[in-house]
């Protein structure tokens, strides 16, 4: 099938939104489809958002391919008779963030009108679409709430799950992620104050700010956690990461209110490891069933410490839950087979 994969991009910024586009392109090609990717710059500048959106209506790709798969908002405004959406998020300031402190848009008549325009344009594009999938239940829920659209999630898999493997159930909990405030590595370190066993914590990833780097150092020093917590504050290779996962006891991913379950959770599961997360982490709740393939605990250091200890003392349990993680990935059909099938049927 000839497929155009379209998305919008923020020029000179690499984000998750571009990964999913590149990976989908690669996989569709691997499955024998002819793929052309179109990436149109789009800046979420509310004052020009209307004209930018209008621009997207004016490209003519309607007979260039059998199917259009549109990804990041509002690339779905492109016109095509056979349009599929992999909807990954709204223009959130105009939707769910509108009433929150994260929204910096002035609440003026002008902005209200722009907001209405964005919503109507979205609604129009959704009506034009043959099929809409999202990347998570959270996004599906928002789509239903704001646009009255029912759409099932198609969960995005890892590009190369086969690079992960299990070597043993070691003595450390592993947190692999960019180190930044809302990923709450500090909370994981705090938890180490309360552990009663020999369990350790390993954190890898580069710090977003110098301030956070200092904070982490001080927290470790003040609590004499040097022997229990290892920080590798830099970008590490995929191979190094796979090794950390292969030898850890379990993974941990405890961001505050993220949409997705996080590629790192999948990496842990593909390494045969359970994932520890928090009840307020957002998307991890769709992947992790408390007590089955990991734990969903209150975002409190003591609660985290408890499950760290439990897994350390019962490695059979860690293994069982890790294996359940692999089952859970299958259950939710987080595979390219599934993604490609859904978008090409």
């Amino acid at each position: 099938m000839k497929i155009i994969v379209a998305s919008t991009i923020v020029p000179f910024v690499n984000g998750g939104g571009t990964l999913i586009v590149d990976w989908l392109e690669e996989k569709l090609k691997e499955y024998g489809h002819q793929v052309q990717t179109i990436k149109i710059p789009f800046e979420h500048d509310y004052q020009t958002v209307m004209t930018q959106m209008l621009g997207l209506r004016m490209y003519h790709i309607e007979d260039a391919a059998d199917r259009l798969i549109a990804i990041r908002t509002p690339s779905y405004l492109l016109q095509h008779p056979d349009k599929y959406l992999w909807f990954i998020h709204h223009y959130r300031e105009m939707y769910d963030l509108w009433e929150t402190p994260y929204n910096t848009l002035p609440k003026e008549d002008n902005t209200l009108a722009i907001r209405e325009y964005v919503k109507r344009a979205d609604d129009l594009a959704f009506r034009e679409s043959k099929k809409i999938y999202t990347n998570s239940q959270i996004v599906s829920d928002r789509l239903l709430k704001y646009n009255n659209i029912t759409a099932a999630p198609v969960y995005p898999p890892l590009l190369h799950p086969e690079q992960f493997h299990c070597n043993k159930y070691g003595d450390y909990i592993y947190y692999s992620s960019r180190i930044c405030g809302h990923k709450r590595q500090l909370l994981a370190i705090e938890a180490m104050k309360y552990v009663k066993t020999g369990v350790k914590l390993v954190i890898t990833g580069s710090s977003e700010t110098e301030e956070l780097r200092t904070q982490i150092k001080q927290l470790i020093q003040h609590n004499d956690l040097e022997k229990k917590v290892e920080i590798c504050d830099k970008w590490i290779s995929e191979e190094e990461k796979a090794e950390y996962f292969a030898n850890c006891l379990a993974g941990i991913y405890i961001p505050y209110d993220e949409d997705s379950y996080g590629y790192t959770s999948l990496e842990a599961h593909h390494s045969g490891k359970a994932v520890i997360s928090c009840k307020d982490s957002g998307g991890t709740g769709e992947l992790i069933v408390d007590g089955y393939n990991g734990y969903m605990v209150d975002p409190e250091p003591e609660k985290l410490a408890e499950v760290f200890d439990r897994l350390y003392e019962d490695k059979k349990l860690a293994e069982k839950m890790g294996n359940n993680g692999q089952n859970r990935v299958k259950e939710l059909e987080i595979t390219w087979d599934n993604v490609v099938r859904r978008f090409t049927e």
């Binding site: 000839k2 155009i4 923020v10 020029p11 000179f12 910024v13 002819q34 052309q36 179109i38 990436k39 149109i40 710059p41 789009f42 800046e43 500048d45 020009t48 004209t51 930018q52 209008l54 621009g55 997207l56 209506r57 004016m58 490209y59 003519h60 790709i61 260039a64 391919a65």
Partner: protein, 347 residues
């Protein structure tokens, strides 16, 4: 500095222009710039779609870039305070191709002419704002810009991107090599027809996918019609760079005979492999590189004339070799280097 290279795209088409975009982007990166290619879809059927394509670009926004280098219509209309052009070509249908068999606008059709006029107007307005910041990839493009729009520009010939893949070859086979996209204006058919008139055992190898399936079918049909299957090989698929390099290294000489093209990477590739090139006097850009009797043969675009050049390549091998070796020194002499291109575009 963040530099956006803007160009157009026709879905599923990857040719010399796309290759140049990627090459420039990569080279800018090597020189310490943050660079990326932005490609805006372009469609010209129906003709009104051209106007939509222009509008779409004008409504887009590229404020995140510190500088924009515009390569093609209509992408070069993107609004930006710091813009330079390195023109691959304008929308030729509105200019030199208008009124020829390759044209699309009917001079007796009011609608057609108003679309054509809109394109020319838009171009003129933009060029007027960019005086002194307009570069082109060849003298042909600069000449057209002067002739049709009255603006002067400087020629910056693009060097070969991955010259390191090539080495001057000591091998000289028995075939003339034509690698290129296949379509009517690249005139592969002319090379095939020439093979009817050759008197030596010279052979022809054509490689490249057709823009449309019909383009490929037509070549196969000609080969069959003239019973040339022993002499002409057509590889109707995308060939990898490695494969192309190999075919160049083993060939006798190259051939590049499009109708009035702006440039011709094929010529550079041939030179980097130490091979002489056959081209035609109406081929456009190749004229600056293919010097008759020095780096190849420049002949009239008639099958009989091309056949003679092919036979000469085959018969006078010492001369063919010598001409092939003259290619690289000529490129250096003309200053066709990335250092030069990037310095001019970013200064």
């Amino acid at each position: 500095m963040k530099i956006a290279i803007v160009s157009n795209m026709v879905p599923y088409l990857y040719g010399g222009a796309e290759f140049l975009e990627d090459s420039l982007c990569k080279r800018l990166g090597e020189y310490g710039y943050q660079s990326m290619v932005i490609s805006y879809p372009l469609k010209w059927e129906p003709k009104e779609a051209i106007l939509d394509s222009i509008m779409a670009v004008k409504l887009n926004q590229l404020h995140k870039a510190d500088m924009v280098i515009g390569l093609k219509f209509p992408a070069y209309y993107i609004e930006h305070p710091n813009k330079k052009l390195w023109l691959l070509h304008q929308f030729r249908q509105a200019y030199d191709l208008c009124g020829t068999e390759y044209g699309m606008f009917d001079e007796n059709n009011v609608n057609d002419m108003s679309i054509r006029r809109a394109i020319v107007d838009m171009d003129n307005r933009m060029f007027a704002q960019l005086e002194g910041k307009i570069y082109t990839i060849s003298q042909v493009v600069s000449n057209r810009l002067m002739r049709f729009n009255g603006f002067s520009s400087e020629v910056l010939c693009p060097p070969l991107m991955d010259a390191s893949l090539y080495s001057v070859s000591a091998e000289y086979g028995d075939y003339i090599f034509y690698p290129s996209r296949v379509n009517h204006s690249k005139r592969q058919y002319l090379a095939i027809e020439a093979m009817r008139y050759t008197e030596t055992s010279v052979k022809l190898v054509i490689a490249g996918r057709g823009d449309a399936k019909g383009d490929e079918d037509y070549l196969f049909e000609l080969i069959e019609r003239y019973n040339l299957s022993d002499k002409v090989t057509y590889l109707n698929r995308f060939i990898s760079e490695q494969e192309k390099v190999k075919l160049f290294e083993q060939c006798l000489a190259g051939i590049y005979i499009p109708y009035d093209e702006d440039y011709g990477y094929v010529v550079l590739e041939g030179f980097h492999a130490g091979k002489a090139i056959i081209s035609c006097t109406d081929a456009g850009g190749p004229e600056a590189l293919v010097k008759d009797g020095i780096t190849g043969y420049m002949v009239e675009s008639a099958p009989q004339e091309i056949a003679k050049a092919m036979d000469s390549m085959y018969l006078y091998r010492a001369k063919t070799k010598e001409m092939g070796l003259n290619g690289l020194p000529l490129l250096e002499q003309l200053g066709i280097t990335w250092e030069n291109v990037i310095r001019r575009l970013t200064e």
